[in-house]
Amino acid sequence: MVIKLNPGAVITTPGNSVENKTGGWRSLRPVWDKKKCTQCMICWTYCPDISIPQKDGKRLETDFDFCKGCGICKQVCPFHAIIMEKEKK
């Protein structure tokens, strides 16, 4: 991606944060167990990033380009369908 360096770091293309992959900081990785998941969508609501994509009211596999490994999804899942594992290099 070519970044345009406007004076004062002004970004004139709104919504371009999706181009800036920020998943690299993660030290823990949420592992989602599709079988245990009831699609209650609580994790989708709570994820502070845009890392749990959804289609037709159902969550999909975590988007690891943006997931920071904060573990909030694991904490809020009432069905223990998510566990946190150490991120491997």
């Binding site: 970044i3 360096l5 406007n6 004076p7 004062g8 770091a9 002004v10 970004i11 004139t12 709104p14």
Partner: protein
Amino acid sequence: MKKVTEASQAVAEAVRLCRPGVIPVYPITPQTHIPERIADFVNNGEFDCELIYMESEHSAISAAIGSSAGGARTYTATASQGLALMHEILHIVSGMRLPVVMNVANRALSAPINIWNDHQDSISARDTGWIQLYVESSQEALDTTIMAFRIAEDKNVMLPIMVCLDGFTLSHVYEPIDIPDQKKVDNFLPKFTPLFKLDPKAPVTMGPVGFPDTFMDFKKQQQDAFDASLNIIKKTNSGFKKDFERSYGDGLVEGYMLDDADYVFVGMGTICGTARVVIDTMRKKGNKVGMLKLKCFRPFPEKEIIDSLSKAKAVAVFDRAVSFGHKGPVFSEIASAFCQAGKRPVLHSFIAGLGGRDVTLDHIEGAFSRIKKEKLPVSEWLM
């Protein structure tokens, strides 16, 4: 129009003539007369602007970011502890390249608490990315405030500016001044057109994160803008001369009896007025003494300083601030400028007039006699 008035009121007149859209401000001695006079103008219907009384200086300068980002010409004023409280936001104003203009009525920093004049407040904000201009008289305060808007808003600059005037010694002193016509000022200072502005119809993001892959590039842009500003300041000063028949040296430095001077005084602000008197008296007795007034401290006009001082035998730099554990800040920077130069005078450092202590004719005359005698550099506090 000619009028006898205080420098604070002269500054307020300048601000009114420049028509800023928003003025967020918080009062602090000795700056208070500036916003008070502006409030009079607004309340009397003589000046249409959004004057916002903030709850602190930190808030005042933060609101200035919002209004400048929204595309309004923005002005504020402060001093001393107020400027210190603004410190973290000062960096953000300049980093966001918002051309805010602010008057600083220079005052000492606590402790011990002291409301009188020195330059420790603005000198301590040296590296915040603001252009710093220092003035000697009420007229210069008025004129420089007008010039500051034009310099700050120049497309090649887009940097905030502090116009520093000595607290009390200038801010509260009555002098005859000439207040220019509104028409002439409108002609000199075009409407502010920001590079970018916050506008819901055409959204932009301001103040985003700068990762290591871009942060340094933005800092380099700021430095390049400072380099470019040297010429813009000079041009603005000569443009001002054309329109108003007044100017201040080349806009960066101003010499007095300098051409054949062997011994030169260097200072900033009102102390230069005192030095002129000493120089006049000493000249009558045949002493080849002169002055270099440093009007612009940031950007630091290295070339102009070297050109003006390299013929002198010795130079006395007067600082009204101190870099604790080292020397006077103006002295250090002049000394570092001369490291690059071939020929250099003996450079002497004098710390004077801290916390409102008088800098007298005798202090300056004494310094001239000292530097005439001493072969080795002197570094002294004039108590």
